[in-house]
């Protein structure tokens, strides 16, 4: 077997393992409870839906839970949501694992999502992405060793007018060049997350 074949085989193995085991289960065996101050918010969210249909609030509550508990959803937090909405826990797991913006495993303090969909791709997003990967020393889908930043390749974020673009936490950064992206990510690395709107 040539070295090339060997590498190919290894790659396909890794690929297989990844494709099969994407859904990660992280149960940190902690019990989670809502902080008291959120009581009003939760009641408000549930009140938006007809009584008996409170399970409809699952996405809103998962968002709230993710924000409250370190930016990701351990099994305990999902169980808490299920308990709050009186629905079977598995139904919550299904929703949480379906949407890319819910994390079912630990993530960095800040999440950098680089759009790699068509518009951004033709405008050079992969150059932006590799610049960012280079700056942080991790590949897309990974978290820096200090737990500060997670980089993700992401589907269309709906801002094609300013492609290529990325989203850091809740803010859009558009019209990127590799240099511009590197500057922004440098600041993120140091915890100074830019929140200004893109120009």
């Amino acid at each position: 077997m040539t070295a090339q074949e060997n590498t190919l085989l290894k790659q396909s193995d890794e690929n297989l393992a990844l494709r099969g085991a994407r859904v990660q289960i992280v149960d940190d065996e902690k019990t989670y409870t809502w902080p008291k101050k959120l009581d009003k918010d939760i009641k408000g969210i549930i009140a938006k839906y007809p009584s008996g249909r409170q399970a409809s609030a699952v996405i809103s509550l998962l968002k709230l839970a993710q924000k409250t508990f370190d930016g990701w959803l351990p099994v305990g937090a999902m169980n808490l949501v299920a308990d709050t909405l009186d629905m079977p826990p598995v139904r919550v797991y299904e929703v949480a694992s379906f949407y890319d913006m819910f994390f079912t495993q630990p993530v960095g303090k800040h999440v950098v999502r680089v759009c790699t969909n068509v518009s951004c791709m033709v405008r050079g997003c992969y150059k932006v992405l590799s610049e960012i990967e280079d700056e942080l020393g991790v590949k897309a889908g990974e978290t820096t060793s200090d737990g500060m930043v997670t980089v993700q390749e992401f589907e269309c974020l709906g801002s094609c007018c300013e492609a290529p673009m990325m989203m850091i936490d809740d803010h859009y950064h558009g019209n990127l060049t590799p240099d511009k992206a590197r500057d922004i990510v440098k600041r993120v690395k140091e915890g100074d997350v830019p929140t200004e709107a893109s120009k």
Binding site: R19, R22, I25, V90, Y93
Partner: protein
């Protein structure tokens, strides 16, 4: 068609008339046209996610899923047009992108929907060159083996767990190519019906763990029979090869089990091959040694000859016996040994066969579909008859049937109202004080389900029955068009025993009397027929004890002579289910080695001791049974008995109802011998421990 509820359409140019609201796939099925499908199942909700059943409808812009599209007047449907065939072929190609080609090692091969559909509707090549994905297997407990790479995401198992079994533990996590079916957090399924997922799975993703790699479907012979692991008599198909039962599957029977069976019915068959009695045994000092039938009969003859008077002879029968077994045992005891000390009600019940309406499920199991309020008294249908419980659940979910429970606390997988656990509540209901009384009164078709195990063995059973009769009378539970007073018998042989009077008919001793006489050393010859609820310690004391049964049981330690009998898969026999419906089990395999069918043993033994019993063949025996109890004449038909008054007036004791089933997976000797059932019970016990601890902490 003039009828408003009928719709006429054409399927493949064939005129079809069906009811309004029928799906196209059902309409096609009714007219004998097959439409390929994976996710659709008539007893589950319809998500239309496999897309295999696409058909062409004239006028529709594209192919439509026939499972989700309802029929319309004058619709023209084509299941085999070019569009339909291309759609089906295309979907089949998508199905096979990730499905492994491991049919040679797959247990489903030979009875696999995917295989059949791929041959009938698929293509012989594919556009996809990508590597197939691999999915980690899940551990769903000791009954279901998973090979998740084979899963085609039809979601039948998820829908079954959520809708029928009532344990929403299966889910589909992830999305698109990363979608996985499983439990997310690994755990064994907490359901008594989980085995049905194996039947539902159209591919080999969920297989039977005990059956894994033991046989191929085309090697198996099968015999349709009746299950006796609980009282409802589910219809089953016994698959066997070379005289050994290899697996058991349900047979569709709309009136009884729809098409589900409980896990005990499906997986207890390994108990048929373990700790079986294969030869007569005789006691030699402290040990038992094998002997031939003549020697064993000789010893019994001597013991019977030595008995000073008929009153010193007694017989107790267990609960796993058919009408033939019980009739021949009863005749042997009462005619040959001339004693009236016979009882099959070993749980201490004193109910007799008078007034049949007080011990059967009068409305029929199908009657549950009509009821709008059920009062459960001292029963736990989830454990006593899981399939019946699934039917109640179905109605609770779809028709807002209300269920109230007077009895031990239980989780029935659907919302219930629980009263305090004491029998006195029945007094309050009778007098109208309790809120349940109002609900009984308001209901159009109220139903009462009385658990035989927890209620009829109580000391105050006649008084409770009287109170229940009053309630039934008062709240129109029984009227001209509706018979809603039901008794749920968990034991498969009990109704036949009452119908055939396997209890003292004159002045003989009943179970309590026999046990007392045993303790007083007044019994010289004791015939134990099968295992029962009585602990073996209480059965010591007779000079000679004979045990007749299929399995080596703890009773062997008190027995002096043991005769090997047949298990339910080894005899053609009549069984009476909880509805009082006679059904016939068929002999699938022969009894092991020297074991014999039970009625033959009693017939041969009677000839040895005195005059032979008056039957030489099974048909003669059947004629005698029908003469004694005419209900056995109508096979497979449900005959509701006449409504008569029963019970004794008097005070009800202020006692709680006990849990009717302590170990669900260990209720009879076959299950106790089964390794698979032992594993299940261990798991259930461990789970109960954890729950109890959590409750303490909470």
């Amino acid at each position: 068609m003039s009828d408003d509820n009928q719709i006429t359409l054409t399927i493949n140019d064939q005129k079809v008339v069906v009811d309004k609201g029928t799906s196209i796939i059902e309409a096609a099925k009714q007219s004998g046209i097959e439409v390929p499908h994976f996710c659709y199942h008539k007893r589950l909700s319809t998500p239309a996610n496999c897309r295999m059943c696409l058909v062409e409808i004239k006028g529709a812009p594209k192919a439509m899923p026939s499972c989700y599209t309802m029929v319309g007047q004058d619709m023209e449907v084509y299941t085999n047009s070019e569009l339909a065939q291309n759609s089906q072929k295309g979907v089949m190609e998508l199905m096979l992108i990730n499905h492994p080609l491991d049919c040679p090692i797959c247990d489903q091969a030979g009875e696999c929907d995917l295989q059949d559909m791929a041959v009938s509707y698929g293509s012989d090549r594919t556009h996809f060159k990508e590597e197939k994905r691999a999915v980690p297997d899940k551990n769903l407990g000791p009954l279901i083996r998973t090979v998740m790479t084979r899963c085609i995401h039809c979601t039948r198992c998820i829908r079954f767990a959520t809708e029928v079994a009532g344990v929403p533990e299966m889910c589909a996590t992830g999305r698109g190519e990363n979608m996985q079916v499983g439990t997310y957090v690994e755990k064994a399924l907490e359901s008594e019906l989980s085995g049905n997922m194996i039947d539902l799975c159209p591919v080999g993703a969920l297989c039977s763990k005990p059956y894994a790699f033991t046989a191929r479907p085309w090697e198996l012979e099968h015999t349709d029979s009746v299950d006796v692991m609980d009282g409802i008599g589910s219809n089953i198909r016994i698959f066997h090869r070379g005289g050994k039962v290899m697996r058991i599957d349900p047979v569709e029977c709309e009136d009884i089990n729809e098409e589900w069976i409980s896990d005990t019915a499906r997986f207890s068959y390994d108990g048929l091959n373990r700790s079986r009695l294969t030869t007569p045994l005789r006691r030699k000092g402290k040990s038992l040694e094998a002997c031939g039938w003549p020697q064993a009969f000789d010893a019994i003859k001597k013991a019977a000859g030595k008995a000073s008077k008929p009153d010193a002879i007694a017989g107790l029968a267990g609960d796993m016996f058919s009408a033939e077994d019980l009739y021949s045992f009863n005749a042997f005891m009462k005619t040959t040994l001339k004693t009236d000390n016979v009882d099959a009600r070993t749980d201490g019940s004193t109910m007799t066969g008078k007034h049949r309406c007080k011990y059967v499920f009068n409305s029929g199991i199908k009657g549950i579909d009509k009821a709008d309020f059920i009062l459960i008294v001292g029963a736990n249908p989830r454990l006593e008859a899981p399939v019946l419980n699934a039917r109640i659940r179905k109605n609770v979910l779809s028709k807002r049937l209300q269920v109230a429970v007077v009895g031990a606390p239980c989780d029935l997988t659907y919302p219930t109202m629980h009263s305090e656990n004491t029998a006195i509540i029945l007094d309050q209901i009778a007098s109208g004080e309790h809120p349940f009384a109002k609900q009984l009164e308001d209901a159009k078709n109220p139903m009462i389900i009385v658990g035989a195990a927890a209620t009829l063995a109580r000391k105050d059973a006649p008084q409770i029955m009287y109170r229940l009769y009053t309630i039934a009378d008062q709240y129109r539970v029984v009227n001209k068009d509706w018979h809603g007073f039901n008794v749920l018998q968990q034991k498969p042989g009990r109704i036949a025993a009452l119908d055939l009077a396997v209890y003292p008919e004159e002045k003989g001793k009943d179970t309590a009397g026999i046990l007392k006489a045993l303790a007083d050393k007044k019994i010289e010859l004791l015939v134990l027929y099968g295992e029962s609820d009585i602990p073996p310690e209480s059965l010591k004391g007779a000079k000679t004890t004979i045990f007749i049964g299929s399995h080596l049981s703890p009773y062997a330690e008190v027995a002096d002579i043991i005769l090997p009998a047949a298990a339910y898969t080894e005899k053609t026999a009549l069984w009476m289910n909880t509805e009082g419906r006679a059904q016939e089990s068929k002999k699938a395999v022969a009894p092991p080695m020297q074991a014999k069918e039970d009625w033959k043993i009693f017939r041969a033994l009677s000839a040895e001791i005195a005059d032979p019993l008056p039957f030489d063949t099974q048909s003669q025996l059947r004629a005698l049974i029908v003469k004694r109890a005419p209900v056995f004449e109508n096979l497979n038909t449900f005959v509701p008995p006449k409504w008569e008054s029963f019970g004794l007036a008097g005070h009800i004791l202020d006692n709680a109802f006990e849990q009717p089933v302590r170990s669900f997976y260990k209720t009879n000797e076959i299950m106790r011998a089964s390794q698979v059932m032992t594993e299940c019970q261990d798991l259930a016990d461990a789970r109960a421990d954890v729950n109890a601890k959590q409750r303490k902490v909470g």
